[in-house]
Every structure is written in structure tokens, then in C-alpha cells.
């Protein structure tokens, strides 16, 4: 099963290679990985999407925990959480498809962030399902380039019902 794991690490050089080296050295797969500073510039947050059965995920979590620079690990998959990813897609639609591209972008709450005579660059944010659906719809329009950020995730806070 696929898991999204948040890893709080010391923001030092070499930490990324310690983490990625752990995955490659032990034959675990990284599907996506995104890193950024947290509010505290001494700490970074990595969001890693990986796959494996329970044994593998247990090992991955323990091995990550064992790394000296890792402060905290949260397996988001076990929590109620929000996941987002952003993609930028450059399409080259035929003249007669242009309206459809704009239309779909609108429906998916995307934005056109750049355009030229022959291309549109669309920014789209969402969870995996939404992005996959959009990409499917864009394929016939002629995708020229495609980049994605990798997933980021955050836990939901419980909302108390009013009495």
C-alpha cells in the first residue's frame, strides 16, 4: 500500500542524501519526495510517498527514526489528513481545442499562468485523483511538458461540534 510519510529533519547539508541513501541502500522505492524549510529555519520537512506492505513500512519508519538527523516521523496515511500536489502542464492544443482547454482548466479550478501563440501553461493543484483526471483529459490536447512538485500533506484538526 502507498504511504505518505512526513519527516521532520535538521536542516543541515547532507540530510537529504542520508534519507535518500537509506531508501536506495535498502531497496525501498521513493515515489515522490518534497522538501522545504519549516517556520523554524533550522528544521526542514520532507514529505515522502512510498509503497510497501506493513513490514516494509514499519522498517522504513524505524530506519528513518534511527537516522540521527531525523526529529520526528508521522505516517500521514494513518491519520485524517489533507494531501496536495501542484503540477504545471504545457499544452499545445489545436485551434479548435483551445476553448476546451480553457473550459477544463476552469472546471478543475486551474489557472493559465503563461500562454503563447501555440501553448498554454496551466497550473493545477489538488489531490492525486484530481490531478490524474486532469492529466487524462489534457492528453488528447497535446501535452508538451509536464512537471509536478511531489506531494505535501498536513494532518486535519478535529472540529468540535457546538452544543
Amino acid at each position: 500500500m502507498r504511504h505518505t510519510i512526513s519527516v521532520l529533519v535538521e536542516n543541515k547539508f547532507g540530510v537529504l542524501s542520508r534519507v535518500s541513501g537509506l531508501f536506495s541502500g535498502r531497496g525501498y522505492n521513493i515515489e515522490s519526495l518534497s522538501v522545504g524549510e519549516t517556520i523554524d529555519p533550522q528544521i526542514s520537512l520532507m514529505t515522502i510517498v512510498t509503497g510497501g506492505d506493513d513490514w516494509v513500512i514499519e522498517q522504513i519508519t524505524k530506519q528513518l527514526n534511527k537516522l540521527i538527523d531525523v526529529i520526528k516521523i508521522t505516517d500521514m496515511t494513518e491519520l485524517d489528513h489533507v494531501e496536495r500536489e501542484m503540477v504545471l502542464i504545457k499544452v499545445t492544443p489545436r485551434q479548435q481545442d483551445k476553448a476546451e482547454v480553457l473550459n477544463l482548466t476552469e472546471i478543475f479550478r486551474g489557472r493559465i499562468v503563461d500562454s503563447s501563440q501555440r501553448t498554454y501553461t496551466i497550473e493545477i493543484t489538488g489531490d492525486e485523483k484530481k490531478i490524474e483526471a486532469f492529466v487524462e483529459l489534457m492528453k488528447p490536447m497535446g501535452i508538451k511538458e509536464f512537471v509536478r512538485t511531489g506531494k505535501v500533506a498536513i494532518a486535519r484538526e478535529g472540529v468540535k461540534k457546538k452544543q
Binding site: 535538521e10 547532507g14 541502500g25 514499519e58 522498517q59 540521527i68
Partner: protein, 577 residues
């Protein structure tokens, strides 16, 4: 007052209680070497190869329990340490390795003798540092010793650019606090109670005692557990000495070359209490078929060791000594059981297995059996020695035929299986214990991997003894070729290429002795043991001898091969030279 990075290093080492460093000089570490020239309290042992330096530091650490320290130069000096570091890492040995590095400004430029040693050693160190600022140096060193020696110990490397050791700063000895590093020492009480109840219910338990018991200093506690509950104990290669090999509850070593009765007991058991061990594949054999009827209690300080290879019913993360102390207390106070009655049938069964297939070999009057040499070493030393081994048959025969009663008396590369480990490790151990008898039980292949360290032993008056079980083959590999590759001895026959070890010893101004007949074994050993110099003993042994029992790779551990009964009389052995 401002002092240089090099001075800071020396000061920090003293504060860490370091007395000996193993090392080798080079351009970028000259700042430090220059200081050591006048240093009285900190002695550098110059080895003849950086790999030798790391293994020597490792032997020193395993024999004493204190961290070993290494100092080498950049580039090739640093890369030569890699095998030693990986060896220490696999066997959880605390080391602090200082490597020189090119000046900070040149890093990344492919400068002369530059190697990215931090990158290279990342997967085989517990942690490593590139010290980029002299102001960080004392904190880094303090952290390095802390990380190397706490939790599950391991090697830590500090890379030192030349300008960092040259520039000056105010010395401080900081308090350290690594927020992301907090090993678990106390075991979960509830889990420990669960374990106690399983022990009380079980009828056929086995304790597997590993290297963690030695590292944690828990020999007393493991013995208390075994004796209180009447549970037999098998010791992994790394665990030999954690529980007395001569104890009536000892089953010897389990696994690929383990005893029949240890493997039988594991396979038939209803409860395994695994302590400070990590279920290496050499112990488990075919994992799916390992201990099929047993529940497993696993105690280890490293959570990643638990449920890595085998299923575990009661995982207990913590320091072995502390966990066992609590477990013993719970067993004595909360669980009332007449252990002897509970175990009587099981211990009888084990005695039957011991009688059925004891650990033996076929003695010969004509040719020296390697096992005979090991037995004689044990007999003469009465077990009062530090034994190191190389890797291969020599290592397995030592594990099988020498009875280790005390912790830290066997130093052997278990996890990585590094040929060339034993001799420098013996030198390190001898330095730590100048009055002890230190013996490397070696093969003729392995000894040649770090034979240059004989110079180190001689010049430092470290009278280590090397017993070479000379079979003129890379014996263990030859054994596999004989058994599984139709006797096609591809590149394992050393034969006439094996040098004259007696002459080699003499060339280095050590002592060389040789035995070619069984009757010469004891006199040679006795002569060697009373010699105050390093000695190479060349035992010309039966090259056909194999290590038995043997579990074929990938088979369950109770599918063991045993020595074939002799059909035709042994061919006369051709003795080299």
C-alpha cells in the same frame, strides 16, 4: 586564549579519556601529527595500512568496551579505512575516525588527494561530520564520542579540512544536546511482563544470546535468567562469551555451522528469547522455516533489528542489561514456577541431542587437524586469553572448538566477515591488555590480507600470537566448491604461492614456528606462548578438512550436513616445502 583546531582535537581526545590513537600520516593531517610529536599522554600507534589502523582500533574497542580512535589522511588514507569502518558498523563497535580533508576552499574541486569520504562512509557509519568551522570542532568531537558509544554503538567519522585544524579559536567544552538522538534504554514494563508470562507458560524455551549482551555488559543478567528459569542458551558468533560456553545450559553456537543441539532446540522450541541479536541469515537459515512452533520475545536496543527478518510476538526495545534486570525481577517476584520441573523433559531431550551428535571431528595421528589446533589452544590457555579470528573455516572452528566463558574474549568480524580483521584486531587488543595472551587464529589466505601489520606488532613490542591454520586453500570457499560446485576449485588453491610464514616472521624480526605433525602442535604452542615477541605459528593442516555441521545456504537450520564417515584411508598429505 586562542588555540588551533589541531590543539582542540588533542585537548578533546584527552578529555574523552583517550590514550591511544591508531593512525597513518599524510599532508593534510600534519598539523595534528606535529602536535603528537611532543605529546606524552596521547600515543599514536603507527600501523602499516589504514585498514590495519581501523581494525586495530576496533579490536581495542571490542576488548575494552571503550571507543577506538583512528587518525588518517585525506583521499587514499581515508578510503583505506572504509572496510574497517564497515566492519565496525556491522558489529556495533564504537569508533571515532578522524580523516584529513583538503582545505575547505578546495573541497569539490577534485583537488590532490581529495575524496568525498563523508559521502562514501555515509551508509557505513552511525553518523559522520564534515567540520567546516574550527568553532564547531569541540562540539562535533564531543557529539561524535557520545553517538559512537551510546544506544547501539557504531563508528562515527569526522572529516577535517586542513585549514580547520590550522585556524585558531577560543576553546570551549560545550554541553551537548542532540534533540533528534534519544536511544531507548528502559524496556516497556508491560511488554516485559508479557515476556515473563510467556516464559512461565513455555515448556521448551531457548535463549539466543547475541553480541548486544556483551556490549551492554549483561552477562550476569543473562546467566541469572538462564539459571533461574532453567532455560538453555545458544550464543551467536557475536555472542560467544556472553554466557559461559562451559555451562551445562550452554548449547554452543546456532546457525549455519552451529551445533546440532542448538539448531534442533531452536526448531523444536515453543519460545525463543532473543537477546541483543538480530536474526542474521547465518543464524536463521531459511527464514520461513525458522523456529516454526515458537513464539518469539525479542529484546534489542535497536528498534530496526526487531521484526526485520523474523516475526516477533513480544518486542522489547531497550538496553539489554536494564531489560533483563527487570525481567529477572518480574520472574522472581511475580511468577511463581517450579522451573526445574517445568523444564525437566526439555533438558532431557537436549541432553539426548547432545549425546546423539556431539561437536566432534576425526582425529588423525598423521596430519594435523585444524580443530585439534584450536582444541589445544583452548586446553593450554584454559580459556584465559583474548582470541581473534580471521574469516573462513578458521573462524568457524574457533567458534566451535574453543569454549568462551567470558565476554570480550572473542573478537571476530561477524557481520561483514572481513578477512584480514583478526591480526590488526589482536594488535589493538594487545595494546589495551599488554599482559594478556592475545591469539589470532588465522587462515593462510586471511593472514596475507594485513600481514604488513607484523611490523606494527614488532616495533611496539606487542607480542601477539598468530596461529595460522595453513591449508594452502581459501578453505571456506573451497569447501563450498567441493560441496556445491563439483570440486571445481576455481581460484581457491593457493598452494605453492603460500609464502614461508616462518621466514616472513623472521624477516620482520618476529618469531616463526612450524608444526607439520600432530605431535608438534603442543610444543609449538607452548613455545609460542612463552615467547615475549610476536610469533607466527605455521600449522600445516589437513587441507581436505571441512567445517561441520553445515546447513546448506537457504535451507532450514535443522537440515544439517555432517562429516561423512571415512570410506578409504586418508591419502598422505603432501606438505609444502
Amino acid at each position: 586564549m586562542k588555540i588551533s583546531g589541531a590543539e582542540i582535537i588533542v585537548e578533546c581526545l584527552k578529555r574523552e579519556g583517550v590514550r591511544h590513537i591508531f593512525g597513518y600520516p599524510g599532508g593534510v593531517v600534519l598539523n595534528i601529527f606535529d602536535l603528537l610529536y611532543d605529546e606524552k599522554d596521547l600515543q599514536l600507534i603507527l600501523t602499516r595500512h589504514e585498514q590495519g589502523a581501523v581494525h586495530a582500533a576496533d579490536g581495542y574497542a571490542r576488548a575494552t568496551g571503550r571507543p577506538g580512535v583512528v587518525l588518517v589522511t585525506s583521499g587514499p588514507g581515508a578510503t583505506n579505512t572504509v572496510t574497517g569502518i564497515a566492519t565496525a558498523s556491522m558489529d556495533s563497535v564504537p569508533l571515532v575516525v578522524f580523516s584529513g580533508q583538503v582545505p575547505t576552499l578546495l573541497i569539490g574541486n577534485d583537488a590532490f588527494q581529495e575524496a568525498d569520504i563523508v559521502g562514501i562512509t555515509r551508509p557505513c557509519t552511525k553518523y559522520n561530520y564534515l567540520a567546516k568551522d574550527v568553532k564547531d570542532l569541540s562540539r562535533i568531537i564531543k557529539e561524535a564520542f557520545h553517538i559512537a558509544t551510546t544506544g547501539r554503538p557504531g563508528p562515527v567519522l569526522i572529516d577535517l579540512p586542513k585549514d580547520v585544524t590550522g585556524s585558531k579559536t577560543e576553546f570551549t567544552w560545550p554541553e551537548i544536546d542532540i534533540r533528534s538522538y534519544n536511544p531507548t534504554y528502559e524496556g516497556n514494563k508491560w511488554m516485559i511482563t508479557q515476556a515473563a508470562h510467556l516464559i512461565a507458560k513455555s515448556k521448551k524455551s531457548v535463549i539466543i544470546s547475541g553480541g548486544g549482551v556483551i556490549i551492554s555488559g549483561a552477562s550476569k543478567e543473562i546467566r541469572e535468567l538462564a539459571e533461574h528459569t532453567d532455560i538453555p542458551v545458544t550464543m551467536t558468533l557475536m555472542g560467544l562469551g556472553s554466557f559461559p560456553g562451559t555451562h551445562h545450559l550452554s548449547l554452543g553456537m546456532p546457525g549455519m555451522h552451529g551445533t546440532y543441539y542448538a539448531n534442533k532446540a531452536i526448531q523444536e522450541s515453543d519460545l525463543i528469547i532473543a537477546v541483543g541479536m538480530r536474526f542474521d541469515d547465518r543464524v536463521t537459515g531459511k527464514v520461513d522455516a525458522f523456529a516454526p512452533h515458537a513464539k518469539i520475545v525479542h529484546i534489542d536496543i535497536d528498534p530496526t533489528s526487531i521484526r526485520k527478518n523474523v516475526r516477533v510476538d513480544v518486542p522489547i526495545v531497550g538496553d539489554v542489561k536494564r531489560v533483563l534486570t527487570v525481567l529477572n525481577k518480574v520472574l522472581k517476584e511475580e511468577v511463581k514456577e517450579q522451573w526445574e520441573e517445568v523444564r525437566r523433559a526439555w533438558l532431557k531431550q537436549i541432553d539426548a541431542w547432545k549425546a546423539e551428535r556431539p561437536m566432534t571431528y576425526t582425529y588423525s595421528n598423521e596430519v594435523i587437524k585444524p580443530q585439534f589446533v584450536v582444541e589445544k589452544i583452548y586446553e593450554i590457555t584454559k580459556g584465559d586469553a583474548i582470541i581473534t579470528t580471521e574469516v573462513g573455516q578458521n573462524q568457524m572452528w574457533t567458534a566451535q572448538f574453543y569454549k568462551f566463558d567470558k565476554p570480550r574474549t572473542l573478537l571476530s568480524s561477524g557481520g561483514l566477515g572481513t578477512m584480514g580483521y583478526g591480526f590488526p584486531a589482536a594488535i589493538g587488543a594487545q595494546l589495551a591488555f599488554p599482559n594478556k595472551l592475545v591469539i589470532d587464529i588465522a587462515g593462510d589466505g586471511s593472514i596475507q590480507m594485513n600481514i604488513q601489520e607484523l611490523a606494527t606488532a614488532v616495533i611496539n613490542k606487542l607480542p601477539v600470537k598468530v596461529a595460522i591454520l595453513n591449508n594452502r586453500y581459501l578453505g571456506m570457499v573451497r569447501q563450498w566448491q567441493e560441496l556445491f560446485y563439483q570440486e571445481r576449485y576455481s581460484h581457491t588453491k593457493l598452494d605453492e604461492s603460500v609464502p614461508d610464514f616462518v621466514k616472513i616472521a623472521e624477516a620482520y624480526n618476529a618469531v616463526g614456528l612450524r608444526a607439520t605433525k600432530p605431535s608438534e602442535v603442543e610444543p609449538v604452542l607452548k613455545e609460542a606462548f612463552k615467547t615475549k615477541k610476536p610469533v607466527f605459528m605455521d600449522f600445516i593442516v589437513d587441507w581436505k578438512e571441512k567445517v561441520y555441521p553445515m546447513v546448506p545456504p537457504g535451507a532450514p537450520i535443522d537440515q544439517m550436513m555432517f562429516e561423512e564417515p571415512e570410506k578409504k584411508p586418508e591419502k598422505k598429505l603432501k606438505v609444502v616445502k
